[in-house]
Symmetry: C2
Subunit: 453 residues, 2 copies
């Protein structure tokens, strides 16, 4: 038995500030545009959807944004999260690399998502908001917001992608136990939903459609706002507590990572672990290899176009420049539902364009294989999304072994897989297959991107 | 928002010793008897099932038993576990009581069970054992041992009560992901299983039958031993890390509990939280109210007879004096599967006889109601077993309010409910009902208790 090597920070070391990468970028990302005028959006355009405090964070250039005391008080329930050295995995791989992982599955919702859910619930509560609408795919984001809503006394309405609503009753039950209302999307509650259902009554739904429904409902009522679980600058900002803690923990460990790995769907857990390290680099610090791992079945960073696109299918959102597969692209059904989004966070897309990060796409069977190897060695069962990061880290470690190098690798284990056991059952039974999209459909979705001069 | 109040111990404060209540009891519990000779068993009788180190712990009178370094090294993955003050629950109840809970759901298997699984795997590994057999009901114990087996490189064979095997595929998948082999019990692999199946081909199984199967398989092979997840002295001993940490954490909090609450199935999580406090009391410290909460559908402490009985249905185990409903008693199917055992740990039974603890039985619907209230207030979704402790603590807090008192209440939240969502779905849908046993069946099971002079 190798010893468990865990680096814990004292409670006082929960970060007091979120780190804003915007302050250190060599150039700002392109502005977000109004879909009608094609001019940059202003705060007033976003006010129906978000409280002003979050809109201010969305466009802030300040390096450090103070975390409100009530948010830190809730973070204390599970933060600082542990950083582990994966000694038993290193041994199983027989690699000279030193592998560390930050574990965000210790939150009550089981993933990193509460880092921003709690912050968003706080700012909405402060602004007098009574109800928040949102969308969820696999359910990790929805359950995080349901949790935060229960704590702050805000009603939460969740438009859940219908295929997940039907296939993941346990995730749904978790949200409902915390008091949230879950609606299968597309639904009859919204114009966006009804329009989709008119085309196809048994439509399985998609994140893009669910976003349209949630946005539409929020825009209709003064006491209701909308919350997004990834993609937006302020969401990525809130996740930087992960990387800030990891920086301090690696200092405790006396190590400095050479390689950072995170999985990317909308980009928030990746940004959370990576941005604080990247900020150091941009301020003259060590240059590190930073790898974003995405699903080969929904490969926005590796196969998408860097272009202005809508965040949703119903085209109710502003236009953001990002790596996108097109807002009409429907990814095939694979198990890492949290990674099934047509676009990538504009900030993550921007640093990819700047050459600050690399991206790789993996198919799901190989990711589950890596996840099971990790579970046997380290004892923690990862979420299917996190398996992408696990596989990315393992590949870096094996490459190091081949090349006779001993890099320090850090990855973010963004959540546990307790609500994803059907996928593990399918994997063990040999029933899990790699999913693919139609090249034709992708080409059509890309051809349909909005025209921006 | 009330602040989160969490008491964390530094890693160095993981206990170095398990606390053995035997050393402080005013009288020892009655001896365990050989089922044939009805004479006290000796180490040689137990040697086919357990390594000598665990047999020594089973009969030890030492107050402190050193925790081996490799066991503490694994504990470090999730220990010390947090102690929380349930401020938001107190507010929801509008009670003057101060409620604390120790949270054991942070372990990789999601419950307190790895505290002993890791220790048992270590001692078996040390003794050269290649394979461990065990039984599991709801699957918490099985998954804990599967986890420990993966870490120490020991094969784990788990006889899983058939009704759970069929109803809880996700728990099973968790065990299998860690590399364990799960067998639906009663099975055709053992004489005990075949005998039951001959009577009734579709028998749903019971913990008592699964224990018989696991014991039978272990006794057959030299390289194979047996492990039990509760009931035995050495299992309860390993769980005392919970209470020892809680003692230190309450000292940090500047509070001293007046009331301790734990749920009881076999008795191990209850013993884990309670024994270190009870030891203080027996050595002249503060007298506290200690309440064991059991399911009304399987009420060994409140309706059972204090008598010698077998631990299993096939009558392969020694006879232990305990509160028992009779080894042929089959409890009805309720959702806290971890509490569905006909007997109670001999040590817990003994201190009940000595008047050192009280016992109460609750029906499951009221426990789920308490669990949902807890989840909304505190953000953690309890396991159905833990809901019994939650309900017990809430009742104490409401009683205090009625009486105008302000006691300090401590309870053990022994696990999370991520693998028990179907029960929450049934509860929310109003489909959960209270289960009962037949008085006639209970009377018959008690009448069939073995005769010991």
């Amino acid at each position: 038995m190798d010893e468990t090597v865990k680096y814990l920070l004292a409670e006082e070391r929960i970060p007091k500030y979120w780190y804003n990468l915007m302050a250190d970028l060599p150039s700002p990302p392109p502005p977000v545009l109004h879909p009608g005028t094609k001019q940059p959006v202003g705060p007033a355009d976003l006010a129906p959807l978000f409280p002003m405090s979050l809109i201010a964070q969305e466009v802030s250039m300040e390096r450090e944004i103070e975390i409100p005391v009530p948010v830190r008080e809730v973070y204390r329930q599970w933060r600082p999260t542990p950083l582990f050295r994966a000694r038993r995995l290193e041994k199983a791989l027989d690699t000279p690399a030193r592998i560390y992982y930050k574990y965000e599955g210790v939150s009550p919702a089981g993933s990193h998502k509460p880092n921003t859910a709690v912050a968003q619930a706080f700012y909405n509560k402060e602004a007098g908001v009574k109800r928040i609408t949102t969308e969820t795919g696999a359910g990790q984001w929805g359950s995080a917001l349901a949790f935060a809503g229960a704590l702050f006394g805000i009603e939460i309405d969740i438009y859940m992608v219908r295929v997940s609503y039907n296939q993941k009753p346990y995730r749904r039950a978790l949200m409902e136990t915390w008091g949230a209302r879950c609606v299968a999307s597309p639904s009859n509650e919204t114009q966006s939903g009804r329009a989709v259902l008119a085309q196809r009554a048994d439509h399985p739904g998609s994140l893009g459609i669910a976003i349209s429904e949630a946005v539409e409902m929020a825009a209709q009522r003064d006491d209701t706002k909308y919350a997004l679980g990834s993609v937006l600058n302020h969401v990525l900002l809130h996740q930087t507590v992960i990387g800030q803690e990891a920086l301090a923990q690696l200092e405790m460990a006396g190590d400095d990572p050479d390689v950072l790995v995170g999985c990317t769907g909308g980009g928030s857990n990746f940004a959370g672990i990576v941005f604080p390290f990247l900020g150091q680099q941009l301020r003259g610090g060590k240059k590190r290899k930073i790898v974003a791992i995405e699903p080969a079945a929904c490969p926005s960073l590796t196969r998408g176009k860097y272009a202005y696109d809508f965040g949703d299918t119903g085209h109710l959102t502003p236009l953001a420049k990002m790596h996108t597969l097109g807002s009409t692209f429907t990814p095939p059904g694979f198990h890492a539902g949290g990674l099934r989004y047509h676009g990538m966070a504009p900030l993550v897309s921007h640093i990819k364009e700047l050459g600050l990060i690399e991206a790789k796409a993996y198919h799901q069977v190989a990711c589950f294989e890596a996840g099971v190897q990790f579970a046997k060695a380290e004892g923690i069962l990862p979420a299917p999304e996190a398996n992408h990061a696990v596989k990315g880290a393992i590949d870096e470690a094996l490459e190091a072994k081949r090349d006779g190098k001993a890099p320090v690798i850090l990855f973010n284990l963004c959540g546990h897989g307790h609500f994803d056991m059907q996928a593990y059952i399918d994997y063990q039974a040999g029933k899990l297959t790699d999913q693919s999209y139609s090249e034709n459909e992708l080409a059509m979705a890309l051809a349909g991107l909005p025209v921006v001069a």
